[in-house]
Every structure is written in structure tokens, then in C-alpha cells.
């Protein structure tokens, strides 16, 4: 157990922090924020920034050297994720976490050769197409069909709840290739070029302000070479890949930022009302939050340490993500309460506290409670995969 960063890790943290502060100045912040986008930056800025991450070497830094990666330990990646979240930087999404790792683990040689270099430069945006209107928590009941036709598969169906599909170059799409088999069997995974004929994207505004997307596939012809893994073995790919995203999402940077932001509010001397921080009950609430945030931080670096030491955590990844997201929700709710009458004021309103961010996130982070398994399904996963309880 080594509680502190090593000198090299600390230097790396400083480097990342300097990079982010340099790139995300107040002017940039003002110019490119967009509450109508998930992540709250414009798609153009997100794409441009992802290229900068690539150029700085941050995307591939943890990839094995055989894929042109930097081979740095997971602790460095965790530091990077932590700082990215803390500084609310754009681009920390499936395009640099989930998908490249899944392709390295499960893709064909050609897919790796074609896609990984571009991805390490931050040139590709992805969306993940699992959920459908009738297949949310119950992923395995998905209905999008892929029918073999010579060298191609013809995909027809609809994916819903598809974040960032409107800015994606590729989709990572789960389909049913064997209609006679049900549930987990008979699925196959495809990489779909979003410019192919038959792909259309429809917007749905969410209550958080940004738009979700539905993606319709109408007889989309995808070359067989873009299948990931074996035919009818898509469920394995889904399950094998899903931990990658959770690991990156379980960083504690968001939680640290939320906490520090509340502290900043509590330190303000409010006209006629003094500092919140001087109230023993506020102190107690902050202390409770600090304990939870510390737990989330330790979990995330625990996970990174396990990886760095060569262990292969599995359900622990789900657990860490649960802890982080539940802690973030506790901070959302605490923020609502601490801001009192200012809590409902929205970004842009006169007198909005903390630029209205608490109210935005109180809505936005709702998806933590149900997405990527959410709180309930994740508990089931932890109970069955982690604790061995019977299904």
C-alpha cells in the first residue's frame, strides 16, 4: 500500500492538469459550452479536443506497445480520467475508453490495423448500439436483425437511448443473427460506418437538456469484415467489453469536483446570511459527503492498482462505478439542499448559484440511476457475478 502518488505519477498529474487548464480556459469555456449536448460541449469542440488528447498521447498511453500504445500503468490512466472529469473536459467517452479496448481484445487483425491508429489520434467518434425500445435492462432480448447476404450482412432495426449517435463516425452495434435462438444466443456484433445508406438518426430531447438519439437501420449493408468476434457470439463480446467502459467511468474526478464546488459555495459570504460553512450542520453534511467521496476515490484507485498489479477485476469494476455514481447522486441531492432557494435557478438565470450547475446535474445525473445497468441491475450483477448468489 502506497497512499501517495510516486514522484513520476505526481509529475504526470501536474502535466495533465496544466494541459487541461491551458486548453480549457474561461474563454474556451464560454465559447464552446453547449448545455444541449451530453457532456455540455459542442460536438465540434469535442472532436477537436479529442484530437488534442490524441496528439498529447493521452488516448493510447495505456495501450500495449504492440498497438502503438504507451504501455503506462493503469494508475496513470486513472490519474488522467480523474483530472479529465475534475476539469469537466470533453471526450472522456466510449470513443477513447470502451471501444478501442474492446477492439484490442476482440477485434480482427484488419480491424485493429485500420481503426486503432486513428482512434489513438482521437480521430473517430463512436456510439454504442445496444439498447432498443424493448431491450433496456434486458439487453439480451434485442431485435435488430443482421441477415447474411454473401460478403455482407444486412442490418435492419432500431437502437434507442444512443448518446452521441449524431456525431459518431461508427456504431458499435449488437444484432440478432440467428432469429431461431433466443436471448443471449444468436447475437453478433458489428462495426457500422454511420455514412452507409440506410442509417438515419433521430433526436429526442431529454429532461436534462441534451438530446438522446434513436438510430434506424434500414437494410444497411455492412461488410462481413466489420463483424467483431465470431458469428452468433456477440453476447461474449458485449460482456467482455462492458467492463472497459465501467472502469473509465468509475474515476472519482467528478465527485471531487462536485464536492469542491459545494465547498466554494459554502465559503461565500452571502449578504445578510453569512457563510454556510460556519453552520455546524453544514459542516456535518460536508463531512459526511467528504467521507463518501473519499470512499469513491479509494475505490477508483484500488481498481487501478489491481490492474497495475496484473489482477483482472471484474465485478469490482461494477462495484466501483456504483459507488462513484451513488456518491455523485448524494452530492447532487446535498447540493440541492445546501443551495436552498437558489437550487432551482437554472444556468443563465439571474442569481443562479454556481452557474446553475447543481440544478443541471441533479437532472442530468438521473441517468446514473438507470443507465449502464443503473443502481438496481448493477446490484444484481454484483450479487450474482461477485457474490455468487443464484440467479
Amino acid at each position: 500500500m502506497e497512499l501517495k502518488l510516486t514522484a513520476d505519477e505526481a509529475a504526470f498529474r501536474t502535466e495533465v492538469r496544466d494541459f487541461l487548464k491551458r486548453e480549457l480556459t474561461p474563454e474556451v469555456w464560454q465559447a464552446h459550452r453547449d448545455l444541449n449536448e451530453q457532456g455540455m460541449w459542442t460536438p465540434d469542440f469535442t472532436k477537436a479536443f479529442r484530437r488534442k488528447l490524441g496528439a498529447a498521447g493521452y488516448i493510447g498511453m495505456g495501450w500495449p506497445k504492440e498497438y502503438g500504445g504507451g504501455g503506462r500503468s493503469r494508475v496513470y490512466q486513472a490519474i488522467f480520467w480523474d483530472e479529465m472529469e475534475y476539469h469537466r473536459a470533453p471526450g472522456l467517452d466510449r470513443s477513447i475508453t470502451y471501444v478501442p479496448n474492446a477492439i484490442m481484445a476482440l477485434g480482427s487483425a484488419a480491424q485493429k490495423a485500420d481503426l486503432l491508429p486513428k482512434m489513438s489520434r482521437g480521430e473517430l467518434s463512436w456510439f454504442v448500439g445496444y439498447s432498443e425500445p424493448d431491450a433496456g435492462s434486458d439487453l439480451a432480448s434485442l431485435k435488430t436483425r443482421a441477415v447474411e447476404d454473401g460478403d455482407h450482412f444486412v442490418i435492419t432495426g432500431q437502437k434507442s437511448f444512443s448518446s452521441d449517435a449524431h456525431m459518431a463516425d461508427y456504431g458499435w452495434i449488437a444484432t440478432r443473427t440467428d432469429p431461431t435462438s433466443s436471448k443471449h444466443r444468436g447475437l453478433s456484433m458489428f462495426i457500422v460506418d454511420m455514412t452507409l445508406p440506410g442509417v438515419t438518426v433521430t433526436k429526442y430531447p431529454t429532461l436534462a437538456g441534451w438530446t438522446h438519439h434513436a438510430v434506424h437501420f434500414d437494410q444497411v449493408r455492412v461488410p462481413r469484415s466489420m463483424m467483431v468476434g465470431e458469428l452468433h457470439q456477440g453476447w461474449k463480446v458485449v460482456m467482455g467489453a462492458i467492463d472497459f467502459e465501467r472502469a473509465a467511468l468509475s474515476g472519482a474526478g467528478l465527485v471531487g469536483y462536485q464536492f469542491d464546488r459545494l465547498l466554494a459555495w459554502c465559503m461565500q459570504d452571502r449578504e445578510g446570511a453569512g457563510r454556510k460553512l460556519d453552520d455546524p450542520l453544514v459542516q456535518d453534511e460536508l463531512v459526511r459527503l467528504a467521507i463518501e467521496a473519499e470512499g469513491a476515490r479509494l475505490m477508483s484507485y484500488w481498481l487501478a492498482s489491481l490492474h497495475a498489479k496484473g489482477f483482472k477485476p471484474q465485478h469490482e469494476t461494477s462495484l466501483a462505478l456504483l459507488v462513484k455514481r451513488e456518491t455523485a447522486r448524494r452530492l447532487d441531492v446535498a447540493g440541492l439542499e445546501l443551495l436552498g432557494p437558489f437550487a432551482p435557478l437554472r444556468t443563465g438565470s439571474p442569481w443562479a448559484a454556481l452557474e446553475g450547475e447543481v440544478e443541471v446535474e441533479y437532472r442530468d445525473h438521473l441517468y446514473f440511476q438507470f443507465a449502464a445497468g443503473g443502481f438496481d441491475i448493477t446490484r444484481n450483477v454484483v450479487a450474482t457475478r461477485g457474490l455468487g448468489l443464484p440467479r
Binding site: S131, D134, G136, S137, D138, S141, S160, F161, Y204, P205, T206, L207, A208, H212, R270, E271, G272, A273, L281, R329, V333, L336, E337, L338, L339, G340, P341, F342, A343, P344, L345, R346, G348, S349, P350, W351, A352, E359, Y362, R363, L366, Y367, Q369, F370, A371, G374, F375, D376, R379, N380
Partner: protein, 392 residues
């Protein structure tokens, strides 16, 4: 003792709910959130015609002399249907304040018109400190010529853009509660209004009084004697927001139950999963406890009792429990209700606003702590117990 509502009250609630649920479509409610006034004037007039605007006024002012519990049942129904209206600004705040403290002339001028749905009125109390304590009031009301000059900044003024007058609280002397109320016409020189954007769709405003002048007869109640009336206003607001939160919770639970009974995942309705059942039972538990606390608060204020303990308990409980209920409702629904066109989002936002109004949970727990310090006996239930003999 009878901890239920009677048949007339039940009928009132059912009628109010039936009206409210038909008054506006969800799409229209969303549209209203983007308008300056935030409510539909026609619907408010219909409500007035049904007697709700004047329900709590005596008959001489065009009212029906109903109690605050009846008003709470109306507000609960409005909350349950997410119908916006100026009932808080005009009835709960200004109307009952004028009934409490206004001169005969003021009552005769305003109350019948309020009851008829012809006048929108509001109050301006809270300042940038954000708290409800009298010590935070810095707006000054100073004698000037034959009247007064008002200077200061007020926040969270409900329906200021639609109101014909704003009853403003200001400092008229050095003592902590040396506070006075005056009616400032919306078009008074020196009054500037700016709309705040807030979750939940209530039309809230900043009101800056910059040497706004009013006549001597604009004063409401005795000079320096405003605080007890304002404290009562805060209690009424808190009790009624508690009832509204119950309505919000009920609607959220109802949506969740009907979704859970029909949404199929893993080849079963999700409502058959124990996890969902436990969530729903928990929501229902908190809802029923909240409802009883809210009713008790409104009833005790309506009966002219102190009602401070009951109101603080109700608002503290509902302000935490009902937003939590809406979060659980979303958790069970998943992505479908995350979309703007699914009605659950209306309740999610209204719960944010309602928990913040007239004191959040923390405010009311602090108020209870003060009551606890002042009189322990009031925390031993309706009929104080002595401790059994071995603890005396």
C-alpha cells in the same frame, strides 16, 4: 380525534383533481413554462369560477370561508396534475396576508377581485441572502412626503409580471423585526422586474426597488408590525407546498405503478420483480406519511393553532421524501422517462422547486431545533407523556 378527511373534503379533492387533470395537456404545461407569466389565465379564471381563488376568504369578500385544509387539498390536486397557477402569489401570500393584516379598505378593494379571478397580487419578501429570518431584510421603507420610499432587492417574487401590486416587506426601524409591509403597484416608478429562470415552471422574479414611492395608504398593517404576519405567511406557504409535494409524489407513484405493470423485461412485467416492488412500497410509505403530516400542518394552521411544529415537520419531511420519490420513479422507469415528452419530468422539476420554496428541509429542521430548545414538552406528541416513573 379523527385523522381522515371528511366526505365533503374528499369530494372537493376529487373534483379538484378531475378538473386539474383535464385543464391542461402535458404539452401545454411545458409550453407555459416558457411563457413570461407561466400560467394559463383562462384556467385560472375557471378555477376562480369554481370558487378556489376565494375559498379561504369569508363570504363577505366573495369567498366560501373554507379552511386551509381545503386549500391544501386543492393545491395537492394541482400538484398532482402539474397545473401552474397564481394561487400561491395571489391567495396563499397576498390574499391571506391582506385578510390578516390589511385595512378594511384594502380588503374590500382586493379580496373580492382576487376571489373573482380578476386580480393577481403577490408579495416580495426574500432577499439575496436567501433565508427567511427577519434579520436578513435590508430593503428600507422610509417615510417620504405623504408616503414612503422603498429601496432594496427582492428575489423569488411569484408572478410579479402578472400582478397588479406587490406587497413588499422592508425595514422601517433598527430592531430586528422592525419591519413594515407596503403595496407597490407593478407600474410604480423605480420598480424594476427581471424574470428568473427556475426549475418547475413557477414564474419567479427579481424585483429591484430603486426609490419606488408609494402613498401613505399603501401600508399593510401597523408600521413595524409586519413580522408576525410574514411569519404566518411563511408557515402557510410551507404547509401548502407540503401538500403540493404530496400531489407531486402521488402522480409520480401512479405513473410508476402503471409503467411497472405493463413494461416487460426478462419476460415479466418489471413490477413483478422484488426490487421494483420494494422501491414502490417505499415510495408509497413515504407518500402516506408525508400526506398525513401535510394535512395535519394545514389543518392546525387553519384552526388558528400555532401550527409551527406541525408545519416544520411536514415541510422537512416532504421536501426530502418527495424529491427522493421522484428520483426512484425515474430509476424504475429508466430511459423512457428521461425524455422530455414523458410526463414524469414535470414532477421531477416541480419537486425541485417545491422543496426549495418557503424554506427547505434544513431550514425547517433548524426551526424545529429552535422549538425543541424552547419547549421540550411540545416534542412529546399530541398529548404530552410523562416519562415512566423509573426515568423521572
Amino acid at each position: 380525534m379523527d385523522i381522515t378527511i371528511d366526505d365533503d373534503q374528499r369530494l372537493l379533492r376529487d373534483t379538484a383533481l378531475a378538473f386539474a387533470q383535464k385543464a391542461l395537456t402535458p404539452a401545454r404545461i411545458r409550453e407555459l413554462e416558457t411563457t413570461e407569466h407561466g400560467f394559463d389565465a383562462k384556467v385560472w379564471r375557471q378555477m376562480a369560477e369554481m370558487g378556489w381563488a376565494g375559498a379561504v376568504f369569508p363570504e363577505e369578500y366573495g369567498g366560501s370561508g373554507a379552511g386551509l385544509l381545503e386549500l391544501a387539498l386543492i393545491v395537492e390536486a394541482l400538484g398532482q396534475a402539474a397545473v401552474p397557477s397564481p394561487i400561491y402569489s395571489t391567495v396563499v401570500e397576498a390574499g391571506l396576508l391582506l385578510l390578516d393584516a390589511g385595512s378594511p379598505a384594502q380588503r374590500e378593494n382586493y379580496l373580492p377581485r382576487i376571489a373573482a379571478g380578476d386580480a393577481i397580487m403577490t408579495t416580495a419578501i426574500t432577499e439575496p441572502g436567501g433565508g427567511l429570518a427577519p434579520g436578513e431584510i435590508r430593503t428600507n421603507i422610509t417615510p417620504a412626503g405623504n408616503g414612503f420610499t422603498v429601496n432594496g432587492t427582492k428575489l423569488f417574487v411569484r408572478d410579479a409580471g402578472a400582478a397588479e401590486g406587490i406587497i413588499c416587506l422592508g425595514r422601517s426601524g433598527k430592531g430586528e423585526t422592525d419591519l413594515t409591509l407596503v403595496i407597490v403597484p407593478r407600474d410604480a416608478p423605480g420598480l424594476k422586474l427581471r424574470r428568473l429562470q427556475a426549475a418547475g415552471g413557477e414564474s419567479l422574479w427579481e424585483a429591484i426597488f430603486d426609490n419606488a414611492t408609494v402613498d401613505a395608504d399603501a401600508i399593510v398593517g401597523e408600521p413595524g408590525g409586519a413580522w408576525p404576519h410574514v411569519a404566518r405567511l411563511h408557515l402557510r406557504g410551507a404547509a401548502l407546498k407540503s401538500a403540493e409535494l404530496v400531489g407531486i409524489g402521488q402522480a409520480s407513484l401512479d405513473l410508476t405503478l402503471s409503467y411497472s405493470k405493463t413494461r416487460i423485461q426478462f419476460e415479466r412485467p418489471i413490477g413483478s420483480f422484488q426490487g421494483v416492488q420494494h422501491h414502490c412500497a417505499e415510495m408509497y410509505r413515504d407518500l402516506e406519511v408525508s400526506r398525513l403530516l401535510a394535512w395535519q400542518a394545514a389543518a392546525s394552521l387553519g384552526e388558528g393553532l400555532a401550527g409551527d411544529r406541525e408545519t416544520a415537520m411536514a415541510k422537512a419531511k416532504t421536501s426530502e421524501a418527495m424529491p427522493a420519490l421522484t428520483r426512484t420513479a425515474h430509476q424504475i422507469h429508466g430511459a423512457i422517462a428521461y425524455y422530455r415528452d414523458y410526463p414524469l419530468e414535470l414532477y421531477y422539476h416541480r419537486a425541485i422547486a417545491a422543496q426549495a420554496a418557503y424554506g427547505d428541509a434544513g431550514h425547517h429542521r433548524r426551526a424545529l431545533a429552535r422549538l425543541l430548545r424552547e419547549d421540550l414538552g411540545r416534542f412529546r406528541g399530541d398529548s404530552p407523556h410523562d416519562l415512566p416513573v423509573h426515568y423521572v
